[in-house]
Symmetry: C2
């Protein structure tokens, strides 16, 4: 089946959103922890996190300027305090994590409403999710509104990482299978992932070996 632009644009809004959200494939899914100046915490699930660079260490995410919805609280808190956390999700956390996407009122913290414990790590004013196996504290490094559709691009500088030492391999990479974290598809599905195939640094002359 080939869908041309006109056919895509003719889809009902929710159908098109579900399709386009499926196109990247399996996506990172994390809980974003924030706090405002008054001390009100917020937690929201996002699946638009991506690597921007390692030196300096930077992660990006896209936040939609919803006229309502929880994501606006997240965005406002990040801009207000200049910090946020990203927290990986395990299968046990997936249902509660999905619940954070509901439209909770501003004065209700998704930490409480969805059953997550907050924890503060030294050097980061925003709350982490206590039982997440990978907690990352970031400061706001760049914020821009993309001309093309008015979504917000947020880039954070990694300030601290909390992870089990056993999950870090000698080469620096994390064994995410050992951490039992999930990946997401579309807007609503959370998947466990197997060990995978790992390949050597690629060179032109030969097919990369399996490690």
């Amino acid at each position: 089946m080939i869908l041309q632009k006109a056919a895509i644009e003719a889809l009902p809004q929710r159908t098109r959103a579900a399709l386009i959200n499926s196109l990247p494939g399996y996506k990172p899914v994390v809980l974003v922890g924030t706090i405002n100046r008054a001390g009100q915490t917020n937690l929201s699930v996002i699946n638009s996190c991506f690597h921007v660079g390692a030196a300096p260490p930077l992660l990006g995410m896209i936040i939609r300027p919803a006229p309502d919805g929880t994501e606006r609280h997240t965005l406002e808190n990040i801009v207000e305090t200049g910090c946020f956390t990203l927290n990986a999700i395990t299968p046990d956390m997936a249902q509660r994590a999905h619940h954070t996407s509901a439209r909770f009122p501003r004065d209700q913290s998704e930490f409480d409403a969805c059953g997550f414990e907050s924890r503060y790590l030294e050097g980061c004013a925003a709350p982490c999710v206590a039982d997440s196996p990978l907690q990352i504290g970031l400061t706001l490094a760049e914020h821009q509104i993309l001309q093309i559709n008015g979504t917000h691009l947020i880039i954070g500088a990694v300030e601290l990482i909390k992870v089990e030492e056993a999950a870090m391999r000698s080469d620096g990479s994390l064994n995410l299978s050992a951490l039992n974290i999930v990946t997401a598809t579309g807007l609503d599905t959370y998947h466990s992932v197997g060990v995978g195939q790992r390949f050597a640094y690629a060179k032109p002359q030969k097919i990369p070996e399996t490690l």
Copy 2:
């Protein structure tokens, strides 16, 4: 284990890159197909693709301005022709896909060197990967160099989608498990993914049900 910024910055460059590339979790991984004005094709694997919006349908990716490496050819071709394709990867394709990250000379196409057949779809000047189960044709919609680290942000407008009709659910979402596509971690690992848990649209009052 908690790694503070100073400890992260003190890591050797490759170790830090492996760690920071692991932080988003499981990432989309796709082959980017391009062609230059002279007709030379290029194919490179990237794991920084993300959803930008559904109306209009937009996908983003980050391309590092490596002084060498294949990604520069991809970037140059996209800027030169204004179009590119994204192609999902199956487990059978993973090793060959990883091979495209090697530093091939400009006059050698990774389609040939890594064993992929190119295919052109009507309405898209850039080549698709013939045996990919999800082929997406895009035109360049926004290109900027991020101030924070000089990487290139590329946003493409989705012009066409080629996918098996059976993989598209009635709500518009794609069944990626049925397409047998992989996800990536770090810089070198490709994982198959199980069926997953799917949840209903979330509302504040109750935990979302499993679909």
